[in-house]
Subunit: 272 residues, 2 copies
Amino acid sequence: MLESRVFRYCVYGVSFIVISEVAYRSYVWIKYLTNKAVASKEICEVIWTNELTQSCVSKHRRFSSNPAATSSASNSPTMSELNRIVKLPSPMKKSQLECSNPFCAAYNVGRLLEFIDSAKHSMDLAMYTFTSYELAQAFNRALKRGVLIRIISDHEMAYSSGSQIIPLTKSGVPVRCNSNTMFMHHKFCIIDSPQRNDVIFKKQNKSTKKCYTRGLVLTGSLNWTMQGFGGNWENILISSNAEYVRSYSNEFERMWNVFSLDMKVPSSSSPK
Amino acid sequence: MLESRVFRYCVYGVSFIVISEVAYRSYVWIKYLTNKAVASKEICEVIWTNELTQSCVSKHRRFSSNPAATSSASNSPTMSELNRIVKLPSPMKKSQLECSNPFCAAYNVGRLLEFIDSAKHSMDLAMYTFTSYELAQAFNRALKRGVLIRIISDHEMAYSSGSQIIPLTKSGVPVRCNSNTMFMHHKFCIIDSPQRNDVIFKKQNKSTKKCYTRGLVLTGSLNWTMQGFGGNWENILISSNAEYVRSYSNEFERMWNVFSLDMKVPSSSSPK
């Protein structure tokens, strides 16, 4: 009688363990499949800058966080005025901006900020010139969220006037540069590449199943500078296509290993 | 008796016309659907140039059409030697090249030449700097095939030393440039954009059904120069994605209308 009761309780206990294990694994799989389904909707987008990029600057003065921007009376914006627009509070989503100009500078920068702010685990940037303060701030926010960032830049442009590379190095971002006279001319950013994230998860002993992310690649002609966003004719292609993400991720990894020396931070320079 | 015979012949005649018309239209539709099916296989490719691009130069000297290239004894190629490699007989398909270097300069240029040589009806190029003689020759071949070419370039770089824009203008390619101090910094090429081809077919009173083509867009950081192909770290993304082709095509068309003045050809310059 006692034995049969013990046996029954054992069966209940084992059944409970098995059922809870099955339920937990089902939950993880459903979450993984749901994330994958959401992520499978491919992003195909192009950001354009052109002569119309500056045409709506005067309309956006009221949005600016800089008081000097709203007090200006002139309707034809100068480059320094445009810089204030580029430094608008971020992220500037299209719905927040209420601008009918599809090439609006504030929207273009805001759209990039949205992508950077969406990074969950990793970000790899290969950028010839990087002087945009707003985008550097987005990188600092990503650092605070625990996103692992790596930057490759050109050995001359990284130290040039207004470069945001040195302040980011001081914030703890590892930066590597080429050492010869050719240009490291890339202008691309990879956000949450599955290849890179898998390496990170393995180091952190995390299951890749629990952390599925869609990779994103942003590439084109645009250097992350005021002139790039403020009136040059430029493009940034944004894609979540897995083949492109893999190709850009592989080349970044290869370059990262070739450019093995970390960037030297000059002691005289201060973060901007 | 005679009436019934006339009636029978009329029926035969009309049936023959109807059947032949149905057969012809079916043939056109089958051809269109076959082309569309072939075209629907999306192209996702990235061309990379980096420090390895020059590593196989000495191996390819035997392929060069330039006798000076084969007689050189040195194994460390100079930029001028590399220029000979970039001027290899075209197109250099990977199978012809027999090179294991995935970043080989000759293959990179050859791959671009293959895309340009595949253009059937139209090509639109927006290029900041264009000095590659080989690629300009491919444009001349396209002109001879009846491909309608348009070029947008930067107003300063179009007239710079070694530019291939002036020779192409003299060959009959319409070229337009920006007129202000900002940079026309794009580096993209659209091949057989359906939007552009539809306009061309309408002007030529051709049926778009008979001439279905897949559009291609080539974009990235690489200017079509010797330095771009010869050792800089650069990328060209190639995509047949219809959304990208439409977006690049629309912006090119917009810019073409904004840059309404055709480029002036200096009388002193000669084709290179």
